[in-house]
């Protein structure tokens, strides 16, 4: 079993956690999320080419012009793979970018006619996001209640705080790195919260178990450290498995799911980090100060009892 002193170095880790949080919040509020056409809307082109084209061919041109995140749709495909009629939804482009794109499409894929051109609004309304956030908040409340029953309120509150920490840090870092997000961000955040919840409970369970078996006078710091070291192998292996899987999705999954896998990747890394180096030290500080206060009171009482004798 490894013997790292996670708790002894808690000040360092709190500072690291705080710095990461500040950077993430800075990313979120100063830079903001780079929202894709799902949110912002964009432009749709309805094109009729003279020769049938495939979605992959159109995608190649769009990638070259840096609008690879556009939606491509073939209308009335006969063979299933090619069509003359193509719908393209791009982000809002400047006049010159549009001109470039139109010229490139023609030089690569042949002559075409613009049948329709429209500005579209985002399909993903802020109302939906608000409803989702509300649902997550109510679910968090349920988690807190469950953890209060199965653990206690200190585990419950530090656990949920660290879950929110993970979600906020992930969204903030996604904003900071500034890759474009589609509505995939919703399932990504839900996965991160779920992963984070699972991770918290597994580690808190070991602390809870060790608390039950605690020998008289064993310092809380030692006990917490031991619990974290006992679960360290598991924490690392599970995180590595998920990280490798997400890396595969990121590398091989193509442009349309990159935001999803990248966000989950960040979330899992910070989930593993915060279970060990944020949630557990936070829990320790709280419980330790309570224990110290209790010890002080009881020794004062003893002293009083002695003095009055």
């Amino acid at each position: 079993m490894p013997k790292f002193d996670f708790i002894g170095n808690r000040r360092t880790w709190f500072i690291v956690s705080l710095v990461v949080l500040v950077i993430a919040l800075g990313g979120l509020f100063l830079r903001g999320l780079n929202l894709g056409i799902d949110f912002t809307g964009g432009m749709t082109y309805n094109l009729t080419f003279q020769k049938p084209v495939s979605a992959a061919q159109v995608r190649t041109v769009l990638d070259r012009d840096h609008v690879g995140n556009s939606l491509i749709q073939l209308v009335g495909t006969e063979s299933g793979h090619t069509s003359k009629n193509v719908l393209i939804e791009t982000p809002t482009l400047s006049e010159s970018a549009r001109a470039t794109l139109q010229a490139d499409l023609q030089s690569s894929l042949g002559k075409y006619q613009i049948v329709g051109f429209d500005k579209v609004t985002g399909t993903f309304s802020s109302e939906l996001v608000k409803a989702g956030v509300l649902a997550v908040l109510i679910a968090s409340l349920a988690i807190v209640l469950y953890m209060m029953i199965r653990f206690d309120f200190r585990f419950a509150l530090t656990g949920i705080a660290a879950i929110f920490y993970d979600a906020i840090v992930t969204i903030g870092l996604v904003a900071l790195i500034h890759f474009q997000v589609s509505q995939n961000i919703v399932p990504a955040v839900l996965i991160i919260i779920g992963y984070s919840l699972n991770d918290r409970i597994i580690i808190f369970d070991r602390i809870r178990e060790n608390l039950r078996l605690r020998k008289r006078g064993e310092p809380l710091q030692e006990l917490t450290n031991r619990s974290l070291n006992q679960t360290l192998a598991r924490s690392i292996i599970t995180a590595v498995v998920v990280i490798m899987a997400m890396l595969a999705l990121l590398v091989f999954g193509g442009t349309t799911t990159q935001d999803l896998s990248a966000a989950i990747l960040i979330g899992v890394v910070f989930g593993a980090y915060s279970s060990i180096l944020f949630a557990s030290p936070l829990w320790f500080v709280w419980v330790d100060s309570t224990e110290r206060a209790q010890a002080a009171t009881s020794s004062r009482n003893r002293a009083k009892a002695k003095a009055s004798r």
Binding site: L71, Q73, I143, R234, V241, T256
Partner: protein, 400 residues
């Protein structure tokens, strides 16, 4: 005894492999999984009430539109209220936008027909329909006609006594009750043929309004391409395969034989999840896949926790058999707490969430249950069956 266990083990592996071979090569399971609008593409329509609408009006309109969408033969339409005055209709797989919109917007016509096919009365003669639970007949629908309708209906029931009068909505026969007596009070009852009160309520709603209860306008109608884009579905599928292969290899790399057992359990997990999705007729969406990914991660984690505990027990000097028993026992509480809290959270998300979030919640609940059955149950059973193999004596090979 020893031989039998090993035979059992091999049998399970062969069956799992056969199931996979059958449902990928011979009879692809993708045929049975219903895909949502985001994965399959289709038509997305938003209707908005042009006048202030009550919730009851909107619910009624939702029922009518659901009826229409189903009538159109759409495999899995999703109709949802949005905000206070909008209805979102998603029709996965529908390509013909014009036809779909025409169908959604059309007015349903209620018609009572005589046995000879002549029209007796229509929806405009009906004042109201309501569903109740009758002590004799079960769920029934009560009809109330206006004065014109009362006269027509009295004449018709006299003329067609002991024959059937058919009730049509558009061209579909809804029900064909038998005329048991002459009805002069302008009231009629439809009994039989309802599975439950909701069923009767749905018909009442439909009868109440040949037309939508409030005027609605289509404010948005678009043919949606699959969210991933037709060209990236294949890439995503390959990426998922590579990710799964990586997980399988990592588990074997770290836990050797036990890792292989965990992989088999994971394979069974996937069969259970996909089977449950098909059995419940759940619609698979991208957030739904996210729920499966998360529960798969939870399943892998459960096995990692269990194996770590077994290693603890071995280090404490127990024999392999005892270590496996104690390892599972010790790991169970953590896994239970994690699974139960995840299911609770998912249930809350389902109850309070909208479409996107709900898709995630459904597959997460199914996935977590399946992961518990397989990562705890199946892994344990398979390890038990392996206790007689010579492998068990080589700890490095058995558990890494």
């Amino acid at each position: 005894m020893r031989g039998r266990r090993i035979v059992g083990l091999i049998l399970i592996v062969v069956v799992v492999a056969a199931v996979y071979a059958y449902f990928t090569a011979v009879n692809p399971v993708t045929r049975y999984v219903k895909e949502g609008l985001d994965l399959k593409g289709g038509v997305h329509v938003v209707l908005q009430a042009t006048k202030p609408a009550t919730l009851a009006d909107m619910k009624k309109a939702e029922t009518i539109i659901t009826y229409r969408a189903n009538k159109f033969g759409i495999s899995e339409p999703s109709i949802q209220l949005q905000g206070t005055n909008q209805i979102v209709v998603d029709m996965p797989g529908v390509k013909n936008q014009q036809q779909a919109i025409k169908m959604i917007g059309q007015t349903a016509q209620l018609i009572f027909k005589a046995p000879n096919g002549s029209v007796i009365l229509t929806g405009k003669d009906l004042v109201s329909a309501s569903a109740t639970l009758d002590s004799t007949y079960g769920p029934i629908v009560n009809l109330q006609f206006n004065s014109e309708g009362t006269k027509l209906f009295a004449a018709a029931t006299k003329k067609y006594l002991n024959q059937t009068i058919s009730i049509y909505l558009d061209k579909n026969e809804l029900t064909a009750p038998n005329v048991q007596s002459v009805i002069t009070g302008g009231q009629a009852m439809i009994n039989g043929g309802f599975a439950n009160l909701t069923d009767a309520q749905n018909l009442a709603n439909l009868l109440n309004s040949g037309a939508l209860p409030i005027p609605m306008k289509i404010i948005e109608a678009q043919t949606v391409s699959p969210l991933l884009g037709a060209d990236s579905v294949a890439r995503s599928a390959i990426a998922i395969l590579i990710a799964m292969l990586l997980i399988i290899l990592i588990m074997i790399g770290i836990y050797r034989y036990a890792g292989l057992i965990a992989d088999i359990a994971l394979a069974i997990y996937l069969v259970l999840v996909v089977g449950a999705l098909i059995a419940f007729g759940a619609v698979l969406t991208l957030p739904g896949i996210a729920g499966i990914i998360l529960s798969a991660a939870i399943a892998v984690d459960a096995n990692v926790i269990i194996f770590a505990r077994i290693r603890d027990e071995l280090r404490a000097g127990r024999t392999m058999g005892a270590a496996i028993d104690h390892g599972f026992k010790n790991a169970l509480r953590a896994i239970m707490d994690s699974n139960v809290s995840t299911v609770i959270a998912a249930a809350v998300l389902y109850y309070f969430g909208s479409g996107e979030v709900r898709g995630f919640a459904v597959t997460l609940i199914i996935g977590v249950l399946a992961s518990f059955v397989t990562a705890v149950g199946a892994t344990r059973y398979l390890l038990r069956l392996s206790e007689d193999t010579p492998l068990v004596r080589n700890q490095k090979l058995f558990l890494g």
